[in-house]
Amino acid sequence: MKIELNDSLFKDLEALSMLNLEGKEREIIKEDIKNILKYMDLLDEINVDEEEEMFTPLSRDMLPREDEIKKSKNIDSIIKEFPEKKDDYLKIPAIYKNE
């Protein structure tokens, strides 16, 4: 498949990836990904129309656990890792923008 990995598409990918690359790094990675995608064209020669996707090696469904309330033993150590906190609450910058 021919893909033009142009600046606009790459910027979109950065945004989706929660990255905002520096100029030189952006150019290096863009070129690398272009080369890697060129290699992936190898898959164009194989017909997969009749096949189903294989998401996992598991041959069974993964059963969910029962919903149970359990007290975690690790609460204190998790809170200790918070970069910013007020009492035991995690502090983060505002997620809304003033417009």
Binding site: L19, N20, I29, L43, F55, P57, I92
Partner: protein, 466 residues
Amino acid sequence: MSENFLNKKIREMERVNKKGDIFSFFFNRTKKYDEKVKAFLEILNYKEAIPYGLKDNILCIGAKTTCGSQLLKNYNSTYDATVVENLRKYGFEPLGKTNMDEFAMGSSTENSSFFPTRNPWNTERIPGGSSGGSAAAVASGLVPFALGSDTGGSIRLPAAMCGIVGYKPSYGLVSRYGLVAFGSSLDQIGPFTRCIEDTHSVIKMIASKDEKDSTSENFEIKDLATTDLKKIRIAIPREMVDYEGLDEGVKESFYLFVEELEKNGVKINYVNIPSLKYVIATYYLIAPGEASSNLSRFDGVRYGKRNDKSNYEDMVNLFRDSGFGIEVKRRILLGTFTLSSAYYDAYYRKALKVRRIIKKEIDKIFENNDFIINPTSPVIAPYLNQITDPLTYYLMDYYTISANLIGAPAISLPIKRVENMPVGLHIMSKRFMDNELLSFANRIQNLSPSFKNGFFELPDGGEKYV
């Protein structure tokens, strides 16, 4: 404590070594020799325990878990991985956290954001990766065994390059709870050891059905059985031995070992698995996709150093920009691309379908063969900084990737040396034929010229611990 092979040997050592407890013995060795190979990121000091090396993407309370990344350089493990808990029941505690390619992305351990680990056989060369620290620690005799994780060959490749045993169990055999996820349908934890009996001892201790990992299975690791080599049928895929990137010396070593197997009655069948041509393309579409999703949790909100951005989006972007290394960014972007709605069908979905074809073709081979063998790596360990192009490194995973794609167990054993660097034999079996695989590997390990006095050899000059 159960008296398995490894425990017995360690106890024997303890009797011989009167100078202190066994943990101190290895602790002191590591303090003395690790500078040469730089296998460890953090060294711990427990008393009254048997030590092992723990890859730094597996959580253990009391130690950091950095995943070889600046982004997590101050992150303290907030819980124990199930494998750590399982080993503790048998009296084992980690001697340290071992170096790795950042977030297990790489085949050389050069992608660690801290420092590269060096190969104990030649410190100018890479140890392989991504679990290079674990491999180098065992191959230097700094620990009796170590744990690593394997998403596309990250245990088997460094094991081959460092001349030890590396085993990726069947997907689901070992709980992944507490392993920082890279490719959730591919990742598996496994051991590095110096002989198959140790591999067997370790897997017996760490394998468990775990309610915290819904992909884990109930599976009994049985005692090693005696394998009658005359009843063993082995497939060698022509696509693998005819691979253009296969080094002549590695090829010759492989064929010499195949001759040895034949002399001992093993039936060798040369087979075709046409879809092997697509394994690297398939893997490098699926694994980065899973990684881009798994690594989205590293946003600087709940842990990591907070930057001064007052806006949430800017804070997250800066945290990730300054924390991730270039290989991780490359794979996140590649994964985001293949998962994005416009390209999902053409890339990601297609790769999942090719994965099914690869599985079908390999399953077909296992209808008439017990194992598939090939070299573990097409080349001996390259020199540090010798390879700079990412695609060249990706191609080095050609021989190991299919086991991850289909969830099969696979093991690498040292067979010979080329330019005094180890070469590995890769053996893969059908999923959940781990007992048969380990018994077979145990039966043939002494056919390797590198196997002496019950262990695969350590490098010249390396102080042997037994």
